[in-house]
């Protein structure tokens, strides 16, 4: 199976691409519009310089050549496109030729990442929900003219899982550049997948484009379904038709949206209302200097902390995705094993509440106590959960919650009491019934309401055996 992805991402600019209207999601319909983004007669576009900077940031992060570019008009009629043409880039895009390294070690080529404007949003009432048999159509132009970058991959992807990894990695890169919030559910990052199948080594098969993939899970499922569908068509002696297909999340199937009998003619020509976009080298350098490390670099740095120990890829992804690099580094600086720091960060701090109020130093302190065995795993999770919720001083929390370790004398006394209260079990334990050690740990725990350290209790029992 051969997959290429086209990803549209809305840019995090304050205003739209060619006018001063706010670029914000969720406002009342048609409240963020003006003569320019409504395409009123006589209005003219003026390019948003911030959109150009963010497009350049994406280009640099994807290792593209950033160069002079030209805007073209892509002409077609659709009610949510105010001018009935889209200002896009055609034969001279701002970014060309790059690559993206995925967390599984594979590399996917980038054809281009070009600037264009978004359309409005249509809602079709009645019929099948498509424009041609709708009773009424409502259009919200708030999104019309929002700046987009379209990132086109080479057809280098070979599995649904790799397609998901690509989109996840690209999303992380877009967030890291500050160009996008990567919110697929709000449509600020949208994925179209081109899928074809062939026998290994054979020429490329006929491809179908799947639209409406608004989550990583949908992408992976849709690509898997579509490849299987195409294989079935071919095995049944049929031919795959080149078409655009719609993914239905509910049924888990793709269906024909429109058949491309011949290539659509968009009558591209240079947009006469805009001048060529010639890169300002100082701006490009400023953007380059302002970019932090990309997710792949950060994963490598974290793996380096583990000094060769094997760390699961999903743990690295979770830590990088949630931006917890500094927490892990702080813990490692306190001689905590990187593997422990990574898994605690991934499992305790990368949840929906994020790291919350916890600071890297506090995280490191908690993990240092765990490493020194003065806090149990259960206690560590409880303390971290409290820190996430409200922050605070680690020592104070440990003391208040009664997690401070018992003195050796107290522990010894409690063990003596447990032995005295359960003479039969103690006798059997001494005769070699090892599993009763856990019985005594339980008794001690109950008596101390969990304050005792299980490891220390075991050591004490062993020494008396």
């Amino acid at each position: 199976m051969v997959i290429g992805l086209e990803v549209h991402t809305e840019l995090l600019t304050a205003s739209k691409m060619f006018c001063g209207c706010a670029n914000a999601f969720g406002a009342e319909p048609n409240t963020q519009v003006c003569p320019v983004c409504l395409g009123l007669p006589g209005s003219l576009p003026v390019l948003n310089a911030r959109a150009v900077e963010l497009a350049v940031a994406i280009g640099i992060a994807l290792h593209c050549r950033v160069g002079s570019s030209t805007f073209h008009r892509k002409n077609y009629f659709y009610p949510d496109m105010p001018k009935d043409f889209q200002i896009s880039q055609y034969d001279r895009p701002i970014n060309e030729g790059g690559h993206l390294d995925l967390s599984d070690g594979s590399r996917v080529g980038i054809v281009r990442a070009h600037l264009e404007e978004d359309t409005g949003k249509s809602t079709h009432l009645g019929g099948t929900g498509r424009v041609h048999d709708a009773d009424r159509s409502l259009v919200d132009y708030n999104r019309a003219g929002v700046p987009l970058v379209e990132i086109v991959s080479e057809p280098d992807i070979r599995s649904p899982e790799q397609a998901r990894l690509y989109a996840a990695e690209l999303r992380a890169v877009l967030i890291a550049t500050g160009a996008s919030d990567g919110r697929m559910e709000e449509g600020s990052m949208r994925v179209d997948a081109n899928v074809s199948v062939r026998r290994i080594g054979a020429p490329l098969g006929t491809r179908c484009e799947i639209k409406n993939l608004n989550s990583l899970r949908s992408l992976q499922r849709a690509v898997a379904y579509e490849a299987e569908r195409q294989v079935d068509v071919i095995l049944a002696g049929g031919k795959v038709r080149q078409e655009t297909r719609h993914w239905d999340e509910g049924s888990g199937e793709t269906s024909t949206m429109r058949v491309k009998e011949e290539a659509e003619d968009y009558r591209y020509f240079r947009e006469p209302d805009l001048t060529d976009l010639v890169p300002d080298l100082a701006m490009i350098e400023r953007v380059r200097d302002g970019l932090g490390p990309m997710p792949a670099d950060r994963r490598a740095a974290l793996a380096g902390l583990a000094r060769g120990a094997d760390v699961p890829g999903d743990v690295l992804d979770a830590v990088v995705g949630a931006g917890l690099d500094a927490f892990v580094a702080a813990a490692v600086a306190r001689d905590v094993e990187a593997g422990l720091a990574l898994s605690r960060a991934a499992n305790e701090l990368a949840g929906p509440d994020g790291p919350g109020q916890v600071l890297p130093d506090a995280f490191a302190e908690v993990l240092a106590r765990e490493a020194a065995r003065t806090l149990s795993a259960t206690q560590v999770k409880a303390v971290l959960a409290e820190l996430v919720r409200g922050g605070g001083d680690v020592a104070e929390i440990v003391e208040r919650r009664g997690f401070a370790p018992m003195s050796a004398g107290d522990l010894s006394g409690t063990v003596s009491q447990a032995v005295a209260e359960h003479p039969d079990e103690w006798a059997r334990y001494r005769e070699g019934e090892d599993k009763l050690a856990q019985f005594f740990v339980g008794v001690v725990m109950k008596a101390t309401r969990g304050r005792a350290n299980g490891q220390q209790v075991l050591a004490e029992l062993e020494s008396r055996r």
Binding site: G42, D84, D273
Partner: protein, 475 residues
């Protein structure tokens, strides 16, 4: 009455802007029904605006170089709340929610817009006969056309309804009607005047410019509206050039080339007018020579691919969805078709089809792509000519004003009206048409002075010389 004279009287308090406005409104009232010049005449707001100008004078402030001057605006220029139809049914009743930069600047200079002037539909035409609101008649001979597409603006000035009007020039639409109505008309350098608020015909060719009785009034109007505008990405940097100051500069030592291709095929009277104007310039100290720029002959065919191609895209937005005419249809496609079929006239449809074809896959290289190459070739040819000449001289239009209906059913004959003006739009340079001589029917003719980019000052100085020489024998 001349614009600068009116402004001088209003600025000095000698005359009120209100009385000037009332006079303009009554002149419009008197002849508009016969001539069909204005498609919309502003009401109370004209007098309110004039009163505001008077109040500024009374308060000791200067309202600007066009204080109290009534102006006509071609109906493709937006002004907040004022109907703007572009001479088309498809925009009937549309009122823009914003004002064009050029109009804002006229207002800032103290001018008083009195209404919107008739035009060929979406500026596609050379006679103001393709307007959905009926043809405009030439005030100098109402059986004839005023030229076009800014025919309403030309007629408004020629009929003394207003001393100045703004038009737009995509292939000659200011200069040709100026010539046919005995006026001065300027097509400025592309980018000198902001196109923000000018309803687009062909974006890479359109420029706004003035029509006036005198070179001085035209210069003052252009000075008022020119200069950088951040809302138009193709706007040139820098403030408006000083043009009024250049009026008396003369042409001593200027090299003027008479361009054979801008005279060939014109009526004998037109050729004689160009020769007469050349004599006037020579007498004023210019060096005259004859030049040939064969590439200019390619202009018409390149223009009729580039302009329709851009128009086919610019006019796509008139789809019945958001504004203007909507004709119901069973589904979205039928609604589009019904709306555009009813809303556009024959000439607009012809050009949309031409342009769509020229841009289509498989034809792009042979038509639109080829036209762009021709455009480049013409720009290079002009550059060679300007290496040896400061200005070029030729005819504006091949004939005097022609009869209503004479060319309306023959598009090629109509297109040829612009054969001398089109090259300047393709090159993006500046040109001015000045009245000089008369045709066989005694109607005025115009001669055209052309210059390189941003040569408006030089052009105005030369035009003033030609204007002053109008009375000499042979003119």
């Amino acid at each position: 009455m001349k614009a600068l004279e009116i402004a001088a009287q209003v600025r000095s308090g000698e005359r009120s802007a209100v009385s000037v406005a009332e006079e303009a409104l009554s002149a419009i009232q008197a002849r508009n029904a016969d001539l069909n010049v204005f498609v919309h005449v502003a009401g109370e707001e004209v007098l309110e605006r004039a009163a505001a100008v008077d109040a500024q004078v009374a308060a000791g402030r200067d309202p600007g170089i066009l204080a109290g001057v009534p102006v006509g605006l071609k109906d493709n220029l937006c002004q907040t709340g004022v109907p703007t139809t572009c001479g088309s049914r498809i925009l009937a009743g549309w009122r823009p929610p914003y004002t064009a930069t050029a109009v804002e600047r006229l207002l800032a200079a103290g001018a008083v817009p009195v209404g919107k002037t008739n035009m060929d539909e979406f500026a596609m035409g050379s006679s103001t006969e393709t307007s959905a609101y009926g043809p405009t008649r030439n005030p100098l001979d109402p059986t004839r056309v005023p030229g076009g597409s800014s025919g309403g603006s030309a007629a408004a000035v020629a009929a003394d309804m207003v001393p100045i009007a703004l038009g737009s020039d995509t292939g000659g639409s200011i200069r040709q009607p100026a010539a046919l109505c005995g006026l001065v008309g300027i097509k400025p350098t592309y980018g000198l005047v902001s196109r923000y608020g000018l309803v687009a015909f062909a974006s890479s060719l359109d420029q706004i410019g003035p029509l006036a009785h005198t070179v001085a009034d035209a210069a003052a109007s252009l000075e008022a509206i020119a200069g950088h505008d951040p809302r138009d990405s193709t706007s040139l940097p820098g403030p408006a050039p000083a043009l009024v100051a250049r009026l008396d500069q003369g042409v001593a030592g200027r090299r003027v080339g008479i361009v054979r291709e801008l005279v060939d095929g014109a009526d004998p009277e037109v050729v004689a007018a160009v020769e007469g104007a050349a004599e006037v310039l020579r007498a004023a100290g210019a060096t005259l020579s004859e030049v040939s720029i064969p590439e200019l002959r390619l202009g018409l065919s390149a223009y009729y691919l580039i302009a329709p191609a851009e128009a086919s895209s610019n006019l796509a937005r008139y789809d019945g969805v958001r504004f203007g005419l909507r004709v119901a249809g069973a589904d979205i496609t039928e609604m589009y078709v019904a709306t555009r079929t009813a809303g556009f006239g024959a000439e607009v449809k012809r050009r949309i089809m031409l342009g769509t074809y020229a841009l289509s896959a498989g034809y792009y290289d042979a038509y639109y792509g080829q036209a762009l190459k021709v455009r480049t070739v013409m720009i290079e040819a002009f550059a060679r000519a300007y290496a040896n000449a400061d200005l070029l001289l030729g005819a504006t239009a091949p004939t005097e004003a022609f009869a209503l209906g004479a060319k309306v059913s023959d598009p090629m004959a109509m297109y040829l009206s612009d054969v001398f003006t089109i090259p300047t739009n393709l090159s993006g340079h500046a040109a001015i048409s000045v009245p000089f001589g008369h045709g066989t029917s005694g109607l005025p003719l115009g001669v055209q002075l052309l210059g390189p980019a941003l040569s408006e000052g030089r052009l105005i100085a030369a035009a003033a010389v030609v204007e002053a020489g109008r009375g000499v024998p042979g003119a």
